[in-house]
Structures are given as structure tokens and as C-alpha cells.
């Protein structure tokens, strides 16, 4: 009944509009001719403008095919690699035959090892080897896939559990390469636009991680909290100017526990204070301090008695104290779990061979069973540290409890090259007298802040007191002979 009504109305409406249209047409016909012609021309003009080619200010001078061919013919690239001089130390490297453990055979000469980071002497520990062998029998060697694609073995899950428990955190994640650990972890969180405050002496892996993150990088003077606070303050002022931007700009402080390049410890309590004051998260690289500092070897946090929850992320490699291969990050699940999808070195790399994971587990067992091992190591560090004081021409750089520290020239000769040569002479003479040492090597052009040349001395629990004394004596004598 009611349905047709609107239709009828519609028809009515359209009728009226038709009428209007007809009236319009009538008006057009009645309009004067000149008017119509003018409008017609205008319409044509618009059409022409619409379809004409864009006007070019200057005709492009395209190269002819022949010219292009000539350009291709003429171009000569630089060689893929520039030639390197044959006497570079990296080409005449030390060859170690046999295990790089306490007693080491370098270039055919038997020495006591003061160069490898085998702090706890676990590298040729029979228990570790036995555990790895059990794993080898069961799993073979390789994993043939990344963690996501059947590269997760029960051993990996065990190791992650054990590391988390050892460090007393919620979660740990393992990487198959020590270097890739912090270098992948940083860009997983810090993105373009975020700000990272980083110590000048930070190791190369951190530098690469920062570069990959493309974040804004602020360097502060080595271990100088006043300088860090100055930068944080500057940032705070900046943030107040632009609060909208500040709300999405994450701030990170990246430091090392014991610095690889200086052997010094970071002032963690002050850092934690600054963290809460300026709301910046702390990432801590503990490759040298894990399994070294603290009563149970948990690293800098235990050394200073700081709750591990105050540190957002701790990363360390398993290549030094644990004497295996790979690295791990640990912290709260809220932070760590993110890397399982965003850590490039985790997602896109084959997982750690199970025998290396098994070795790391066994090494953790040994560490847990012998907590005394850490104080033994500290005693040894202090002993050689003290014995090396007062060598004329050489200064000891690094903490007295650091198992890796540096010997630098007191006075540089003025050129880095000559310094390196002098130090190498000392190293070579020591090697002749069965003390294996090495200079700390850097890629000089790649480092952000290149540390001065130095000899790195590494202390392990296996070195006897007699050997430590002998090493100190030898270095002293050799240095005196070379430098004076």
C-alpha cells in the first residue's frame, strides 16, 4: 500500500527536473551567438591545456647511445681490494698447534698462555669435553637450521634455562656467535630516532650494533658520569622543547661491565641512579666480567650488589669464561622475548651446535659447584697486577681484579706505528722466553675512538703463582731491554 508512494514522488521530482533542463536548453538557444562562440573557445582552450604535454623549461640533453657506450667503455673501477703489504702481522699470524689452553704451542714454541681469555681454565677441562662428547654422540655436530625451523634442540632450551637461573633473571636467549649477541640485541630495541648514550671505550661489537640500529648516538667520556649526566641533561632540555617527540624517543645507556679496551670497570651504582633519574634503559655488555666478578661469578651486578632487575639487558659471550662458543642475553621476559622475533643474529642464523651448548652447560655446572674459583682468579689478578707495577716505560691500565688488562707505553714515541713495533718487540722477546702474549689488535680505521696500542695480559686460574711471577719478571726484563 505504502510502498509505491516514494517511487511516484521520485517520478514527480524527476519530471520537474526535466522541465528545468528543457528550460535551460531553451535559454541557451536564445543566447547571443558571440556568447556561445566565446564559451566554445574557452572550452576548447581548457581541453587543450588538459591534454597538451607539460611545458619544459629546458629541453633535456639526453646522451646518445654512442656517448653512453663510450662512458661505459671509459669507466675504470678501483680494484676490489687494495694491495696489502706482505709484512702485516695479520698475514704472518701466530699459528697455535694443539689446544689454546694453559700451555700453548705458538709457532712451534711451547709457552705459558697469557693471551687467551680462558679465565677459568675450562677450555680443556675433561668434564666439559666429556659432556660435549656425549652430545656429539647423540646429536652430531651441526643443527642445519635456524631456531625457528627445527634448529631448536632440547640442549638449547636447557642452556637458556640454566643461564637464566644462574643470572637469577627471568629469561635468557642464546646466540651462536659471541660478537653477534650485543650487535643484534641493540638494533632489536633501538631504532631510528632513538638516542643511545654510549661510553667512548665501548668495544667494536657495540659500535656495530649501534651502527645497525641507525639511532642517534651520543658518546660520553670513558667512565665519566658527569659527562654522561651533562648529555642526559641536554637531552632533557631538548625533550622539554618538543614533548611530543620525547614521548616516543627511547633512551638507552650502553656500557660494558669490564671494558675490553681498557680493563676498567663501569661505575654501575651511579649509572643505575642516572637511569631512574633520566628514564633511560641500561644495556650492559659483560663478556669480560661474566664468570669473573662477584662472589658467584654473576658479573658486575653481583660485584656492586645491584639487583639484576635494575639492568634492562645483560649480554655476554660464552667464549671467555665458559670457554665455548656463542653468546647470550638475559633479563626480564618483557625485554628478552622480543629478540626471538627481532634479533637478527638469532632469527636468521643457524643455531648453536648442540655440543657447544652442552659444553657451556657443563661449564656452568663447574662454576656453580666451585664458587671459590672466582676469588682464586681475583687473587691471581692482584698478584700479577702488583708485580707489574713500576716497570719503567710501561704502565698498567685496568683494574687490579680484572683478568684482562693492558700494558701501555708510558710515553708514546709520537707515531702509532713505532709504538706498535716497540710493543711487538716486547711480545716477541717474551714469546722467546715462553710467555705467550699478544697486543690488543684493532682495526685502526674502523674504530670510533681508537685506544692506544697496548699489550693485553690475560690471567687464568690455571697459571701458578710461580708462573705469574715469572711472567711479570720476564715482561719487566724484556721491557727494560727494549725500551731503555
Amino acid at each position: 500500500m505504502y510502498l509505491p508512494c516514494p517511487v511516484v514522488q521520485n517520478i514527480k521530482v524527476s519530471c520537474t527536473s526535466w522541465k528545468c533542463a528543457l528550460e535551460d536548453v531553451a535559454w541557451i538557444i536564445s543566447a547571443p551567438a558571440y556568447h556561445l562562440i566565446l564559451e566554445g573557445i574557452l572550452i576548447l582552450w581548457i581541453i587543450r591545456l588538459l591534454f597538451s604535454k607539460t611545458y619544459k623549461l629546458q629541453e633535456r640533453s639526453d646522451l646518445t647511445v654512442k656517448e653512453k657506450e663510450e662512458l661505459i667503455e671509459e669507466w675504470q673501477p678501483e680494484p676490489l681490494v687494495p694491495p696489502v703489504s706482505g709484512d702485516h702481522p695479520a698475514l704472518n699470524y701466530n699459528v697455535v698447534s694443539g689446544p689454546p689452553s694453559h700451555n700453548i704451542v705458538v709457532n712451534g714454541k711451547k709457552c705459558v698462555n697469557f693471551a687467551s681469555f680462558n679465565f677459568l681454565g675450562l677450555l680443556d677441562d675433561p668434564r666439559v669435553k666429556a659432556a660435549a662428547l656425549v652430545s656429539l654422540r647423540k646429536y652430531g655436530v651441526g643443527t642445519c637450521g635456524p631456531r625457528g625451523f627445527y634448529g631448536t634442540f632440547d640442549v638449547h632450551l636447557d642452556l637458556e634455562d640454566r643461564l637464566a637461573k644462574f643470572m637469577q633473571t627471568e629469561e635468557a636467549i642464546i646466540y651462536s656467535y659471541g660478537f653477534a649477541t650485543i650487535a643484534s640485541a641493540i638494533p632489536a630495541y633501538s631504532k631510528r630516532g632513538d638516542i643511545v648514550f654510549v661510553d667512548r671505550a665501548a668495544c667494536f661489537a657495540i659500535q656495530k650494533g649501534l651502527q645497525a640500529s641507525r639511532s642517534d648516538i651520543q658518546l660520553f667520556k670513558h667512565n665519566d658520569m658527569a659527562d654522561l649526566e651533562r648529555l642526559l641533561k641536554e637531552q632533557e632540555i631538548e625533550d622539554q622543547k618538543n614533548p611530543r617527540k620525547a614521548r616516543v624517543t627511547r633512551r638507552f645507556i650502553v656500557v660494558e661491565g669490564l671494558y675490553m679496551n681498557t680493563g676498567t670497570i663501569c661505575p654501575l651504582p651511579e649509572l643505575v641512579k642516572l637511569k631512574y633519574k633520566y628514564k633511560a634503559r641500561i644495556f650492559l655488555e659483560e663478556s669480560l666480567s661474566f664468570g669473573v666478578l662477584g662472589e658467584h661469578g654473576r658479573g658486575v651486578t653481583e660485584h656492586f650488589g645491584i639487583s639484576i632487575d635494575d639492568i634492562d639487558l645483560i649480554s655476554a659471550n660464552m667464549e671467555n669464561s665458559l670457554a665455548s662458543i656463542g653468546g647470550f642475553c638475559c633479563g626480564r621476559s618483557f625485554v628478552i622475548d622480543h629478540q626471538r622475533l627481532s634479533g637478527q643474529g638469532y632469527c636468521f642464523s643457524a643455531s648453536l651446535p648442540p655440543l657447544l651448548a652442552a659444553a657451556a652447560i657443563e661449564a656452568l655446572n663447574i662454576m656453580e659447584e666451585n664458587p671459590g674459583i672466582f676469588s682464586v682468579l681475583r687473587e691471581k689478578c692482584k698478584r700479577i697486577h702488583k708485580a707489574l707495577q713500576g716497570i719503567s716505560g710501561l704502565k698498567v691500565v685496568g683494574e687490579s681484579f680484572s683478568p684482562a688488562f693492558h700494558l701501555q707505553l708510558q710515553e708514546s714515541t709520537g707515531s702509532r706505528e713505532d709504538d706498535v713495533k716497540l710493543l711487538q718487540e716486547i711480545v716477541n722477546h717474551c714469546m722467546d722466553r715462553s710467555i705467550a702474549l699478544t697486543q690488543a689488535r684493532y682495526l685502526e680505521k674502523e674504530e670510533k675512538c681508537l685506544p692506544p696500542p697496548s699489550i693485553r695480559v690475560v690471567v687464568t686460574v690455571e697459571q701458578t703463582d710461580e708462573e705469574l711471577e715469572r711472567a711479570a719478571r720476564t715482561i719487566k726484563e724484556v721491557a727494560q731491554a727494549v725500551l731503555l
Binding site: 661505459i72 673501477p77 678501483e78 681490494v81 696489502v84 695479520a90 698475514l91 699459528v95 698447534s97 694443539g98 689446544p99 689454546p100 689452553s101 698462555n113 687467551s116 680462558n118 675450562l122 660435549a132 656429539l136 654422540r137 647423540k138 652430531g140 655436530v141 643443527t143 642445519c144 637450521g145 625457528g148 627445527y150 634448529g151 632440547d154 651462536s176 656467535y177 660478537f179 653477534a180 661489537a205 645497525a212 620525547a246 627511547r250 631512574y276 628514564k279 671467555n320 665458559l322 670457554a323 665455548s324 662458543i325 621476559s333 622475548d337 622480543h338 626471538r340 637478527q344 636468521f348 642464523s349 643457524a350 651446535p353 657447544l356 659444553a359 690488543a440 684493532y442 682495526l443 674502523e446
Partner: protein, 552 residues
């Protein structure tokens, strides 16, 4: 013996009933003026055998349903996020510490939307833990979730003897211990596991030297250097080779490690379409002619980054043409043979051998030991001056701990096995077996009507699933049938091209492959995965039954 020379490339012409090339591969893109003009003069000698590679497009309705699937998932995700925000639905995700609530959020909310709402639903199909060697059969640990995949609980049950179609164990050299691994055991007992120093300092072992010499011999190049991690081999060595003022031309589907290495180098990066020679030539030509943007100086050098076999596409790099182009435009070629070394070529020497080219045509060989050699780590090989330069300048050599000795020994053992230096021909047989298994598996899948991507000789076989729901169903059903497969979706693939990726191994027996194929056939009907519209082969089986030989 239907195929004595192991001739990996000799039967391409049998497949001419199939689409020979697709839009990506086609050589008829001559509309593009520049390309045409470029090919006029001095046409270089190209590899003359056809490269049979197929990338069939999905039917329209499949695409529509795929996007619809994602659309629905996204809408539902928003709805659930809304419920979570209102506190109606419990949020299982880990949360920030109370003390740090006022910090700038560590993650942006939308960053994890996909993870939280789509990935979480089907997360059980990844990271499945196993508890045996990743050989042809492996044991998967059964796990269940009580909270919709937020956490998993192990039941303690082990799913025994699952057929492994997921691990890159091309030659079956990743297996549990047997007598052939005795040297690995000896090295482990003698050397221990770690090295605790870098190559530049005190971490160059005699084992590394031995391995490097062997790798160079294997690849038939002057020198080689090995590194502890495959990923880092790319990301830490490309920056040593190129830098500011250099140009990197990178395939769009290159692995993350190549991309990272290219980024860290500071060089300008331009992307060419996957395996598309027209696209590459255009970029090369423009680069040489127009030089660097703005300052207009000529590029210092141009480096082409490609992979041998692409792990998600199953395609093999069009090396003959790339070599021709690189010679013509004087660019350098860096080839990542992570998947192709050991797995293609009549004697397993990779893509250069596959195409019968000269190793000197490639400037930088890179590869990993993770896949065919059942170990871990990577290598860079090439001319002696290149390797010497890297010994001095590689980031990895200066700062990263060197390779573990037992791992090095496993590679030595595997390489000698493939080269026949162990006094047997078993290694060679494995390489041939892999080629046969690959052809058989691909052939059968094609006949069944699945859309599979890639080169017919590539042991990486992607099977297209498209729809996100089918991805999960496929993997779960197959695990119930004791077949372990890898499924991949966004972001590893384009959004609408989720796929399953099989890795054929020489260790797969014909029975195993048949079991897998039967199950796939059923699965294809059950989930309606047979999308291919190509005419199916009417020929009797190309693969000669009698030519199949078990590896003994």
C-alpha cells in the same frame, strides 16, 4: 643409470611442456628501450641451456580469499585488543616493570600487533624443539599450550621418527655420531671446544689453516678464509670490501645477513628485481653512465650481491648472464652460496660448477658450512689478494672468536668426503642422490598440481599455501602424520605468499619421499592446495624407477 654424469643441467629440455619462464624470468622485455639498446652490441656468450624456473601466479580467487583472511584476522585482532584494553580479555603478554612504567615504552603498540594477534594463533608451528640429530628422521618433543600459544608445556612425550623435510641437511652429513666422525671426536678430545681469542691475536689454530687450504682446494680458487658464523661472514666482511662512494646492487630477495652487511658498509644500495637481468642491467648501465647522484662523480666500484640458491624461492641465480653483465660493466660479483655449496653441481661445488663456469669469473665466493656440511660457520674465498686483504681488514678476524676446532674438523671431514679424499665415492653418490631426489620430489609435486616455486634443480622446494589459516593447518596435520615441515609467512615472504618450504636431502630414501608425497597429495585435497592451472604432465613418469639407487 639413467643419468651417469650426475648431469644436473642436462635434462632441462624435457620439461618444455611446462611454462619455461615467467614475468620475472622472461627475456622478452624488450619494450624497455634501454635494455634493447644495451643488447645491440657485442652480445656476450650466454649459457645456452634453458634455465627451467617457474613462479606460477595464483588464481584470483585464491588471492581474494588470502587477503580476506588477513583482513578478518586484523579486524578480529583489533576487537581483541579492544577487549584487552577494557580488561575483559586477559592479556598474557609480559609487561613492563612497575618501576619503569613511566619510561618511554620499549615497544610501540602497533609493532607487536601482528605478533600478538596473528602470529600467536599459529605460533606452535615454529621453534618446535627436537631432541635428536637433524637427519632424515628426527624426534620432535611434543608440546601443548594451555593458553592459546602464549606459553607451551612439554608433555614429556617424544614424537619419534618424524620425517625431516625442514632442515638444510642437503647431503645428510648432519647425523648422530658414527665411525666416520671419529676425527671430530679426536679433535674434540685433543683441543677442547673454545678458542678464547681472535684470529688476529692468539686464535689462529693449525686446524683453521688446514681447513682454509682445503676450502680453497674444494672451490678451486687461490685462497679462502673461514669464520665462526655464517650470518656474520656476510655482515662483517662486506663492510671491509666496499664503503662510501661504492655502489652495491643487491637482489631484492637477498638474505638478511647480506642486507645487514650492505647497510653497515656505508655504500649506496640499489635493489634489482629478483633474478631479473633486465633490471640488473638497467641499474648497472645507469650507475656507470650517470655516476653518483648529486656529486656526479663516477662510482669507485660496483659490487653485485646475489645468492646461489634463494632459500625462500628455490630459484637458482642466473649466473651466466650475471657474469656476462659484470664483465661488460666491470662490476664485481659477490655470491653467497649458503644453500648452493655442496648441493648443486655435478660434484657439489656449487652454482659455478652447475653452470659450467670458471671460478675466476666470480670475485668473492661466500658460503656457509651450516647446510651441506652439517657444521657451522662460513667462508670467503677467491683470489689470494682478496683473502689477504680480508685477513687484515675483516671485522670478524679482528674482533670475533675464531671457529671451534671440532666444528672445523667436521667441515674438513665432510669436505674430504664430498671430494672423495676419504678414498670412497660415497660423497659423490650423495651429491647425485640429492639431485635425483630433488628432481623426483619436484616432478611429483608438479604432477599433483601444487604451485611450487623455483628451479627444477634446486633442493629447496617452496610449495605455495597462500592463506594464513592453511599455513597452520598444513603444518599441524603433517606433524600428526609424522612429517616435519617448515612453513613461512609474512614477513619472510610477501604478505599473500605464505608457503611451505621443503628441503630435500640425500639422506631421504625413496620410501620416505613417497610417504611424504602421499601425505601431501591427501593434504592437497583436504586443504585444497592444488592451485596450479598448468596442464599436468600426460607423459609417463620421467623419472626412471630403476635409476634410483639407495645410498649404501
Amino acid at each position: 643409470m639413467a643419468n651417469p654424469g650426475g648431469g644436473a643441467v642436462c635434462n632441462g629440455n624435457l620439461h618444455n611442456h611446462r611454462k619455461q619462464s615467467d614475468s620475472l624470468q622472461s627475456g622478452n622485455c624488450t619494450k624497455n628501450g634501454i635494455v634493447k639498446e644495451a643488447q645491440q652490441n657485442g652480445k656476450p656468450h650466454f649459457y645456452d641451456k634453458p634455465i627451467v624456473e617457474s613462479f606460477e601466479e595464483a588464481p584470483l580467487h585464491v588471492m581474494v580469499f588470502t587477503y580476506l583472511g588477513y583482513g578478518l584476522g586484523t579486524l578480529f585482532g583489533y576487537f581483541r585488543d579492544f577487549l584487552r584494553n577494557c580488561g575483559i580479555e586477559k592479556c598474557n603478554a609480559a609487561v613492563e616493570r612497575e618501576e619503569q612504567k613511566d619510561f618511554v615504552p620499549l615497544y610501540q603498540n602497533f609493532e607487536n600487533f601482528y605478533t600478538r594477534n596473528l602470529y600467536m594463533r599459529i605460533r606452535d608451528n615454529w621453534n618446535r624443539p627436537i631432541c635428536s640429530a637433524p637427519s632424515a628422521l628426527f624426534d620432535v618433543m611434543e608440546r601443548v599450550s594451555d593458553d592459546y600459544n602464549w606459553t607451551f608445556r612439554f608433555t614429556g612425550r617424544i614424537i619419534k621418527d618424524v620425517i625431516n623435510m625442514g632442515s638444510y641437511n642437503f647431503l645428510g652429513l648432519a647425523a648422530s655420531y658414527d665411525e666416520s666422525m671419529k676425527t671430530v671426536k679426536d679433535v674434540l678430545e685433543q683441543y677442547g671446544l673454545g678458542v678464547a681469542s681472535t684470529r688476529h691475536e692468539m686464535g689462529s689454530l693449525d686446524k683453521h689453516k688446514e681447513l682454509e687450504n682445503l676450502v680453497a682446494e674444494f672451490l678451486n680458487v687461490e685462497a679462502a678464509m673461514v669464520f665462526g658464523m655464517g650470518f656474520a661472514t656476510n655482515s662483517m666482511n662486506i663492510p671491509a670490501l666496499v664503503g662510501k662512494g661504492c655502489l652495491i646492487l643487491s637482489d631484492e630477495l637477498n638474505h638478511a645477513s647480506l642486507v645487514l652487511g650492505a647497510r653497515l658498509s656505508g655504500a649506496t644500495i640499489r635493489i634489482f628485481k629478483h633474478n631479473n637481468m633486465q633490471s640488473l642491467e638497467k641499474l648497472l648501465r645507469d650507475a656507470v653512465i650517470y655516476g653518483q647522484p648529486r656529486i656526479r662523480r663516477a662510482w669507485k666500484k660496483i659490487l653485485i650481491l646475489v645468492e646461489g640458491i634463494y632459500s625462500m624461492e628455490g630459484s637458482i641465480v642466473n649466473l651466466p648472464q650475471i657474469v656476462a653483465l659484470k664483465k661488460k660493466y666491470k662490476a664485481y660479483l659477490y655470491i653467497d652460496e649458503a644453500h648452493s655449496i655442496g648441493s648443486v653441481g655435478p660434484t657439489g661445488r656449487g652454482v659455478v660448477e652447475f653452470f659450467g663456469l670458471d671460478p675466476r669469473d666470480v670475485d668473492v665466493f661466500m658460503g656457509t658450512f651450516t647446510k651441506s656440511f652439517g657444521a657451522s660457520g662460513g667462508y670467503i674465498a677467491g683470489r689470494k689478494d682478496l683473502v689477504d686483504y680480508l685477513r687484515v681488514h675483516s671485522h670478524s678476524a679482528a674482533y670475533a672468536t675464531s671457529m671451534s676446532p671440532p666444528i672445523a674438523e667436521q667441515i674438513i671431514r665432510s669436505m674430504k668426503f664430498i671430494m672423495g679424499l676419504d678414498g670412497t665415492t660415497q660423497g659423490l653418490q650423495r651429491v647425485r642422490q640429492l639431485a635425483k631426489n630433488t628432481r623426483y620430489f619436484r616432478q611429483r609435486l608438479n604432477e599433483m598440481g601444487f604451485i611450487i616455486y623455483g628451479n627444477e634443480e634446486s633442493p629447496v622446494v617452496p610449495l605455495l599455501l597462500y592463506m594464513p589459516a592453511k599455513v597452520a593447518a598444513f603444518a599441524r596435520h603433517l606433524l600428526n602424520r609424522k612429517i616435519g615441515v617448515v612453513v613461512v609467512g609474512f614477513p619472510a615472504t610477501p604478505l599473500a605468499e605464505a608457503r611451505a618450504r621443503f628441503c630435500v636431502s640425500a639422506a631421504h630414501t625413496r620410501e620416505m619421499l613417497d610417504t611424504v608425497l602421499e601425505n601431501l597429495d591427501e593434504m592437497g585435497d583436504l586443504l585444497q592446495l592444488k592451485y596450479s592451472r598448468h596442464k599436468k604432465s600426460a607423459r609417463p613418469e620421467l623419472y626412471d624407477e630403476t635409476s634410483f639407487e639407495l645410498d649404501d
